[in-house]
């Protein structure tokens, strides 16, 4: 594939992520932090996020499947997920977490289950998209090109 075209598609793809509200400016900040000293900083962080989130979601599912749901356990998990998702700019996950937390405060088990599904859905969406993004980036890097994302951040 043509390098320029790939760069173009990557840029478009990134923009689409922003337009769909999957990511926000925080992700741009992350990209800005990436430089020669930390060449794959973004992917590192995102991978960390994936690992962390997988664990949290797993815990959450377990906690919510209990006979008696301990909301004191659930809430910190959601909070953590909210923190980490907002840090990488996955704002749809973050928003879902905000709703989730409000239901946690109300101790509404049913709604929490729904929210968990929502969060999972959003999470897998962002995971999917980001993985695609990284694949594209890798392709560009592999073909010796610059990642235009750096340009995105001015």
């Amino acid at each position: 594939m043509d390098l320029v075209q790939m760069q173009k598609s990557l840029q478009d793809y990134t923009k689409s992520l922003f337009l769909e509200g999957i990511l926000d400016s925080q992700f741009l900040q992350l990209q800005q932090l990436q430089d020669e000293s930390n060449p794959d900083f973004v992917s590192q962080v995102v991978t960390l996020f994936f690992q962390d989130s997988d664990r949290i979601l797993n815990d959450l599912s377990l906690s919510l499947d209990q006979q008696v749901v301990d909301f004191k356990k659930v809430d910190p998990h959601v909070h953590q997920l909210k923190g980490s998702s907002s840090s990488i700019g996955a704002q749809r996950v973050k928003n879902a977490c905000v709703v989730f937390r409000s239901f946690c405060e109300q101790q509404n088990v049913e709604a929490c289950h729904r929210c968990l599904q929502q969060v999972k859905q959003e999470y897998y969406l962002v995971k999917n998209r980001l993985e695609t993004l990284f694949k594209l980036e890798q392709q560009i890097v592999a073909s010796g090109g610059m990642i235009p994302a750096v340009e995105l951040g001015f």
Binding site: F18, G21, Q29, Q32, L48, S84, S87, Q91, L152
Partner: protein
Amino acid sequence: MRGDSFSMSIENIPDSPMVSRKKKMKIRKVFDKMTQWVTPWRSNLESPREMMILRGDVEQDEFQYASSHCLSSYYSVFVVRLAIMVMLAILIGLLTVLTWHFTRIYTKQSLKTLAYGLRYELLQRPVLRMWSVVNTTSELTTAQVKLSEYVIKKSDKPTTQEELVEMYQAMKDVTWALFASAKALNAITINYRNGFVQAFHRDPASSSTFYIFSDLKNYSINGIGPEDVSGWNNQSIHGNMSAIWYQQQLDPVTGEKLGKPLKIPPDDLINIAGISQVPDGEASWHVTVSKYMDSPLLSAALPVFDASNKSIVAVVGVTTALYSVGQLMRDLVDVHGGHIYLTSQEGYLLATSTNGPLLKNTTNGPKLMKAIDSEEWVIRAGAQWLEKTYGSKRPQEVHAENVKLGNQRYYIDSFYLNLKRLPIVSVVIIPRKFIMGKVDERAFKTLIILISASVCIFFIGCVCILILTNGVSKEMKLRAELIRQLDARRRAEASSNYKSQFLANMSHELRTPMAAVIGLLDILISDDCLSNEQYATVTQIRKCSTALLRLLNNILDLSKVESGKLVLEEAEFDLGRELEGLVDMFSVQCINHNVETVLDLSDDMPALVRGDSARLVQIFANLISNSIKFTTTGHIILRGWCENINSLHDEMSLTVDRKKPWAPMKTKLVQHRNHLQKSCKNANKMVLWFEVDDTGCGIDPSKWDSVFESFEQADPSTTRTHGGTGLGLCIVRNLVNKMGGEIKVVQKNGVGTLMRLYLILSTPETADQNIQPDFSKYGLVVLLSMYGSTARMITSKWLRKHGIATVEASDWNELTQIIRDLLEMGSRDNSFDSQNNIADSLRAELSNIEEIKNPVFVIVVDIGVLDLTTDIWKEQLNYLDRFSIKAKFAWLLKHDTSNTVKTELRRKGHVMMVNKPLYKAKMIQILEAVIKNRKRCNGLRNRGNGSDESHDCLEIDPTQFDTCSSDDSSETSGEKHIDKPVQPSTLHSPVLKNYLIDATNSNDDSRSASMTQKNPEEEDWKDRLYSGIVLDGKNLKSLEGIRILLAEDTPVLQRVATIMLEKMGATVTAVWDGQQAVDSLNYKSINAQDPTEEHKSSEEETANNSIKSQSSLRNSSPYDLILMDCQMPKMDGYEATKAIRRAEIGTELHIPIVALTAHAMSSDEAKCLEVGMDAYLTKPIDRKLMVSTILSLTKPSIFQTSLSA
């Protein structure tokens, strides 16, 4: 609906306890009928209602509910009423009955006793009389017997006729004496053995007295012996019959014979007691009747024995009429009423109180009458009753009450007098009416009165209860109404809350995509391959988006203020600078509108105040933008002055207009005054007054209050012409109130609106806040050449106040004229003569200026004074350039002044250029620059030098720059301007310098630089909105050498934050929870005391001079700052902070701790600060904010040194 309530009221009619089941059934039937009748009507009513909106239905339900509620309360009221009435009735009834009973019973009892006494008395009397009659009779009889015995004994055994006659004569005399003495006697008879009879008789009818005797001739002297008594007895009686009887009338008193004795038939007049009546020699009694008397007679008989006391010689009989008893009875009854009668044991009437006959005539002569046969009705009835009740076995005494005889009630009392041989029964019949009549009558009357009285009381009571309970029911009704109203109000409030909530949520949700839009627009703007047109369009979109975002923020702000969630921060900030930045910003807009924006702050305004700068700026931004919207020509002045606490009172009394609303404030302040005067060092509260004065269309006085309501606009057409939501002023009012102030529209002379507000802000404890440079000694002369008269006037006034001679010029001609006058000394006099149009005041001013020795002329020229439309401005510039040696020129540029003009100016060596508008701080800056320049160069005008100097001065510190121009649209709701506290020491020079336009910068051809220069405000906005995105070189290593401990459990965040900080040159140590943070701090601090460690670290830092000095200051602490996540496992941020602060007690250490939290609420911030944290950052981490926070928290020395580096 109405039908419903109606039927309900029917249903709820309480059944009184008296109402039977049947009645209920009836009511039910009626009710059913009514509902049947009502139903069609109701359905008719409902059908249009169904078409109504949902709200109407809700109201209907509500009303229905309320009405049923009301009805149930009516029901209960009714029941209560009924209960009270019943109780009242029972009470009154009881009282009545008791009263009646007691009065009646007691009277009756006493009366009965009395009546009994009376009856007894009545009974006793006749009986006693009877008794006395009997006694008298008996005594007389006995006396007669005794006398007879005596006489007979004396003439014992008369042998001769003469003796016999003599004895009879003696007997007659004795008997007469006795008879005459006892008037009551009817007759005394002596019946001798031989049949001779002597008798005295009184005839009550003719009241004459007779002596009756039989013929003596037939009697033998030798009578039959006493042996044959029985023969004598019978014989004598029969013999007597044959004897001749004589009756001789006697004088009743003397006993003298009055006439010849008459022959009478025997036994004609009186009963002669014979031997038969004394068969056993004892006295005998019996009742007889006489032919000639209508009353019965009581006769007693006693035998007279001879001397030997063996034989009966004669029989004496005494007869007494019972007439006197009857007389007594009549007398008694006359007084008392009623009837009395006496009967013998057999029931024969002896005496009655009536005049009725006691005897009945039969063929055999008169006979005694039985009581039951009496002609008197009452006696007959009484006797019959007695007979019927008791029969033959009558008790000794009978006392019967309430015996009904005929139609009347009677008392019947009977007494049995057991006389030997003559038992007597006396009976008294008294009508009850006679004794109890009055009592019964009274009792009846009393009863009637009592009953009527109690009925009256009952009815009055009922009425009272009705009235009282009516009040209660009314109150209940009202209460129900009130409850309904409250409910409605609550609903309304809730719906209003929902609305606000909805708005807040909506705006919050809208902001996110807006942020994306703006972000993408920024990306687009920075793209190089846009055409100019595209660029302009995108810029326009960017502006619109920003405006939209601002609107959203406004809504969010409003709802936040209304919900009370807004917490004002307390931080020091430079009020003047904030306002100047604001005016700068708006002047751009105003110049387009041909409106002058003027900032007029008094000199006594404190430079530094404590408060929420962002909100303060928001207040004025809203006010000014509001003014701009409505002002097409003229000016907008933002006036500010400080209310000196001491002069407060005068101020208050002067402004009558303000006096009232501020009155409570005044007293509060006056109270504060003394305290404040005593302790000047304390952060004292200041009252800052502001006015926003415009020359716009003005507001109708009737709307002055309502414009501050949300979604209110003075004129509904405003939205069409000017746009806007009407939220701005509402936010302003809320914020002002929150800052302890008030805002109102004030009457103004001339057109436009004058908004006046005051705020209460505390000033920090810096003694020398108002350092006003003294310019008067430099002999400065300022020539102000400006278009806008308002700004010029204000500035010149200020300058004159500070002892600087000022001349004003409004256009080019005037300017040249004055310049010539001032600088071309030679032709000065001429020009004075020729220029008559110069005003006297100006001339006076000019003459004053002449007196100044070695004046320094400063000419401030508005670029608008030059004719920029054509090329004439170059000529004008050249003309002015001639005077550049004698005077310093300062240029006021517009934001759209073209580059060519600027270049030309610079080329000609005019380095002092400021953007409009001109205000105090800029003026001071210009003057200081002039003075400094003069000092340094000693009058020499070196262009390069000046440029260098200005270059030096114009160093713009990014942090400060950010501070000076905060606008009304803060990026996020939770964002806090922690970088606000500006150190006073670093404030003065950079602040003043940055007004001058950077000359070197403007030489740069790059577009971004020219943009910055053209519109720095806009750039500021972008910086603020996208602070995280834009990275300038200055920021990159701004955290150089700062050691940071990061406690964060989320790996992602930890990584991001670490990289972010490291990129900016900080040394980061990351730990996973609070416990580790505390531990590492302890470990490090122990290590830090180790000299080798210290040495090592200091060696590391030798590379950087500034860090070295910093290190020497802070070598006792392992970290310069801690970033602490709030929610962490094991030990959360709050606990960790508490632990660290505990450990710090006793040492002089204070490690700044910055909280990192995802809660974006002010309350969390409060919690953070409470546990001892110094600042607060929200996730996701905003880089710029983080940097400024960290810099402001690490020691000021670092800050300064890094600046100077």
